[in-house]
Each structure stands twice: as structure tokens, then as C-alpha cells.
Symmetry: C2
Subunit: 339 residues, 2 copies
DNA sequence: CAATTCTGCTTCATCGATTGAGCAAGCTTG
DNA sequence: CAAGCTTGCTCAATCGATGAAGCAGAATTG
């Protein structure tokens, strides 16, 4: 792939030459601090017009190289295939731009090696700050970044070496489980344990959600058997397989389930439809994450929606305020009313 | 937001000093063309090790400034809130990395001004190439880019000044409409026109889909009334409002609909549920775009899934082969079998 | 009116990596 | 053993923007 056969781009030197002035005057005018440098409004107007005419575009590489701060802010994100991460990215970009920062986002597919590689790439591009969203191993990323003097904020999954902004996973899971238990009892008249499906047993969010799940059961005086907690990973196929194995093992399937993310729900729903196990009556479901079409799937599904705007407000508050404090900010998720 | 109080980053000069050699040797070694420059394997090994120990990271800004190609590839994309654009971005990033290109993606929220601003920013970052996905006015972007000698490829929506890769919108819409018409006739025994909802009347995709929609009706000998084509925009609220207005105008609502994108479907479904107009029997729906949960909404919905992998293959084929030819590549979408 | 201040610029070093040109020491060849 | 080649480096210019320091000339001040 070559650059089109094109005249070289216009630089401040070209403009200076055309205007019969110096490059530094042009630079000062175009980057807006010409008043501080006592350039006449007249010259400023002339150069601005000229730059416009010549289609001048700043060379960020040169600019960033020279400056102290790059004004580039990076984010790594696991996937783009669900509304939660999609809105995180969209909101992040908007808020970065509001602050005159250039956002660079990259998706790491939940792959630890890619996460590190992506972080390294961001450092090479001189990001001023990096947001590690849902990172498998946030602390290693922070270590890498802090060696380069770059601040990090963990989002969605917490780490121990940088401030973190996460959902109140315990609280959300507790409330969600309560609701599903109530729904089950109302419809089926039984007080029996739910199934937990999806997520990684090792990640903080999942373990907190399991804790909330257990707490809600405990409250209701229901015992949860170990093999009803299937933290099999997030991918739809993994959730589907976990369900199949459970059924094949001859376990009596619960009348309700807690599904850890829409992405796992995709697999769970697929299995329910394919296996026909729940042909008689759909189980009551609770999903930790929101999706508009899941909401339309029927009134047997409750959802918890993570509060992305508040989470990103918290992230930028940390960034804007230069806090280095190792706090973990927990944002309560929103329990969507069913239907 | 300041840089943490940190030692300056290690540069090739630091490494050169530590190793008692020159910066240019270090540079050649670390960027891999030390063989061309006749550097001994011994020194190469020593420097590589040292760089590792010192946590050296290339300064891309300096590197790109000096080189004539940046190896940065940009993409602008309208939204991250649906599976179609999500998978485009994910696939794009993966394919860019395979080619040793650094992907920069930015979301422009279907806002023409933001599109131009984003394109300008990408030029400042010296992108070698820009993919304009679903751009409102691709030709203006191309114009801007080509003035800077940067190649552009249009994706999803075609333009007249750069090669474009789009879905076969006419073909997909034709087939989708046929299916919905068949479904309606089978269930309701009537040959009546469908409703078309969503999209912008001015965009190429929408007008091609409307053309396919009309062609399928023509085939079946069904007349389509002008006011059954509601190209009201993509946003859910717009689709919902359009439905409401249609109903309020006293129009007899069709038994089937062609919905132009999942995002419009969100609004349509919401209206259907809220208004209760279809309480007796759900209408048959066809949706141009795919979503896993929409697929689970019931067997009254048919979907057309745009073939993202093939589309991006085509995009990179154009980029890799340096074609400047103004062709429009049409990729047939996949008609998902119902259920 | 000499001394000072202000205005409106210009000059030049710098950021870090890259690369063409050059150079010294060792090796080959006739 | 002189001429030429090879090996393994170093030197210095360069990419484009930035900003501290400097410098004329005009304006102000005591």
C-alpha cells in the first residue's frame, strides 16, 4: 500500500515561505497561542486564511514529539459485540473529545497476550493515560504503563495497582437473584435454588456476582449446591456446552437461572430452544447486562443494566483530578423493570 | 491531567550510551533491519537484551515523523450499538494488525460534521489510508483525504470518488421481501403490501432496499402505496414515531413489515408492544441486519445478515493491491433461515 | 532627549528515530 | 605488498512543530 502519488503535504514552513514570515509565527498562530507570543491580529488573520486555502493540516507526530503531553488517551476493551462495551466506547470517545483528548480504542478479544501487546502499542503512541476495560490482568498492564510514567484507570474489572471503576456487582447480583427467586416462587410455588451460568470464576466481577447470588439464596433460606454454579466463561458456546453437560449429567434443571452477561445468555437461550428441556414452561431468567432485544424476549427475564454514563463520569473524574489514590469506585447498576 | 512524576522514557540514545555504541546501530537493531546495515549478530543480541531490561519502548511519533509511511490505518464508523458495526470494527482491527498496520477507529454518531472533523484528525495523525464506514457524505471525506494524498475506501455506503464495498442491498431486500410476503400469504391468506420502516431516504442503501422491496411486490403483483414507505431515519425513536403517526392517520396497518436495520427494529418492536395494535396476531417481519436475540424473538421474523468477513476481505484486497479503480464491490448478504 | 518599555516578530535548539554517506580495520587477490 | 573488497560500525542531516531567547524599531516616561 503506497501513498497516492501526491504533492507533499503543506507544512508550516511552506506557509511561512508563502507569507514571507517565519515558521514559528505560523506555528504560534495555528496552535492558538499567538496572543501570548505577541503576534499581530493582522498577521494571524492572514496566516489563518492562507492555511485554509492551502489545506494545511497539522502533523500530529511532529507536534506530539515536541510537546510534553500528547493529549492522546487510550482504551483497551474486550469485545465490541454487546451493548455494554459498545456504549462504554461510544461514551468514552465523546468524553475524551470534550476534553480535547484524542481517543484511541482497541479491542483485545479477552486475550491476555493481546492485551499486553495493545498496551505496549499505546505506550509507543505516547498516550497520556490508559483505560484498561475488562482486562484479564490489569495489574500487569499498570506495571508496564507506570514504568513508562503513564497513568492507568481500570474499568469494569478492578486491579490492585491503579484506581478502578466497577459496577456494584454484589449489590446488583443480590437484587437480581432476589427477583428471579421471587418470580420462580410466584409462578412455580417452589423455593428452590437457581442456576448460575457464565463468566470466569477467577474474575472479580464473576466472583462478586456469585457472592450476591449466594447471599440472596441464603436470605431466602435456600441452599445452593456447588455444581449449580457454572462459571464456564463468557462465550455463547461455552455457556451452551455447560448447560448440555449439566443436563447430560442427569441433574434436575432448576426453574430459574442467573446468567452472567448477555453474551452468555445467547448460548443459554440457544440451548434452551434446541434441547427442548424447558418446553413445558420457560425458566425465569436474570441477566447481568442489558440488551433491548433481550428485554423483548418475554416477561420471564429480568435484567441488570450497568450504569455506563456514571461509570465513565467516575473514570474521567479520576483522570481530571489527577488522583493517584488506589480507590475502587463502585457504581450501582440499574435493575430494569421486567417486560 | 499530568504525566506521573516519572523518569524520562528510555530512548535509543540512552541504550546507545549504556552499550557504548551509536544510536543509529541501536535503531537499526531494534527496528529489524540490522542485517541490511551489516550489524553483527553479537551486538544485535546485546542491544536487544539491554532494551528488554531497560523497558525500552519505541517512540512512534518520532518514528512516524521520520518515515514516509506511518503504517496507521483509520476507520470512521457511525455507531457501536449494533452487531453489524461491532463486527466490522473487530474484524477491521484484526486484519489491520495482521498486516502490521495500527488501526485507529472513531465513531461519528451519524453526524456529518463529526465525520469531517474525525477525518481531519486522522489526517493529522498521518494515516496511510482511511476507511469511511457508513459515511453520510463519503465524497467530501475522499476529497479532503485525497488533497492530503491519503487513499480512501468507502464501506457500507458507496461514494463516487473512491472504491466502495457494500452489501448487495437490492438483492438482499428482494429476497427478504419475498420471504415476508410468502409468510404473510401463508398465515393470513392475503396478498397485501408490506410496510417499509427505517433508514434515510437519501442514502444509497435505503433507496436500493426500497427498490428491492418494490421489485418483490411487483413480482407478486402487489401494488405498494407511497405512504407505506417510511424512511424516517434509523434511530429507534424515529421508527417508533413513524409507526405511531401512521396508525394515528387511520391507515390500515399491513400484516407484514420490512424493517431497515436492527436499530429501527428496536423502535418498531417497542411500538408494537406498547400500542397493542397487533395484539391479535404478530405481523411478519423482515429485518435487514442480524442480531442473535432478534433471531430468538420468534419465527415471525426473517433476517438478512450482511457478510462482514467478505466485505472486509474486499476492503483489504483493494488496499493491499493499491487499486485506485473506482469500482463498487457488492457483497451478497446472507439470508438467515427463520427461527 | 536619553532611558525604558512594549510590540512584533525571527533565530535556533530540540523532541527521538531513521538512513545515506563515510570511514577504519581486516581480509582477499593477483 | 598494493589495490580493492568486506565487515561493522559512526556521523550528521532530516522529518515538522514548538518555544525560550533575542533583537530591532516604535512608543512611552521622567
Amino acid at each position: 500500500m503506497k501513498r497516492a502519488t501526491q504533492a507533499k503535504r503543506t507544512t508550516i514552513y511552506d506557509l511561512a515561505e508563502l507569507a514571507g514570515t517565519s515558521a514559528s509565527a505560523v506555528s504560534a498562530i495555528l496552535n492558538g497561542n499567538w496572543k501570548k507570543r505577541r503576534i499581530s491580529a493582522q498577521l494571524a488573520a492572514r496566516i489563518t486564511k492562507l492555511a485554509e486555502e492551502q489545506g494545511y493540516a497539522l502533523n500530529m507526530q511532529a507536534s506530539v514529539l515536541r510537546r510534553e503531553r500528547s493529549k492522546i488517551i487510550g482504551m483497551i476493551v474486550p469485545k465490541y459485540d454487546n451493548r455494554y462495551f459498545g456504549s462504554i466506547v461510544e461514551q468514552f470517545e465523546a468524553m475524551a473529545r470534550e476534553r480535547d483528548l484524542f481517543p484511541i480504542v482497541t479491542c483485545t478479544r479477552r486475550d491476555p497476550a493481546l492485551e499486553m501487546e495493545a498496551a505496549r502499542a499505546m505506550l509507543s503512541y505516547q498516550v497520556d493515560c490508559l483505560i484498561a476495560t475488562g482486562a484479564t490482568d490489569p495489574d500487569r498492564i499498570v506495571e508496564l504503563c507506570s514504568a513508562a510514567g503513564v497513568r492507568t484507570v481500570n474499568l469494569d474489572l478492578p486491579g490492585s495497582r491503579a484506581p478502578s471503576v466497577i459496577s456494584d456487582n454484589f449489590g446488583g447480583a443480590l437484587e437480581l437473584t432476589r427477583r428471579v427467586l421471587t418470580n420462580c416462587e410466584r409462578e412455580f410455588g417452589v423455593k428452590s435454588p437457581l442456576l448460575f451460568v457464565g463468566g470466569r470464576g477467577t474474575d472479580h466481577n464473576t466472583s462478586e456476582r456469585v457472592r450476591g447470588f449466594r447471599a440472596a439464596h441464603a436470605e431466602a433460606g435456600i441452599r445452593v449446591d456447588e455444581d449449580l454454579v457454572l462459571t464456564c466463561g463468557y462465550a455463547p458456546e461455552k455457556a451452551e456446552n455447560a448447560m448440555r453437560q449439566l443436563a447430560e449429567a442427569g441433574t434436575v434443571l432448576p426453574r430459574g437461572m442467573f446468567v452472567n452477561s448477555t453474551i452468555s445468555l445467547e448460548g443459554v437461550m440457544r440451548w434452551i430452544r434446541r434441547s427442548g428441556e424447558y418446553a413445558a414452561a420457560m425458566p425465569h431468567l436474570g441477566c447481568f447486562d442489558w440488551d433491548p432485544f433481550v428485554a423483548m424476549l418475554g416477561d420471564h427475564i429480568e435484567m441488570v443494566r450497568q450504569d455506563v454514563p456514571k461509570m465513565l463520569d467516575a473514570v474521567f473524574e479520576i483522570i481530571d483530578s489527577d488522583t493517584l489514590e488506589l480507590k475502587v469506585v463502585q457504581i450501582p447498576p440499574i435493575v430494569e423493570t421486567a417486560g
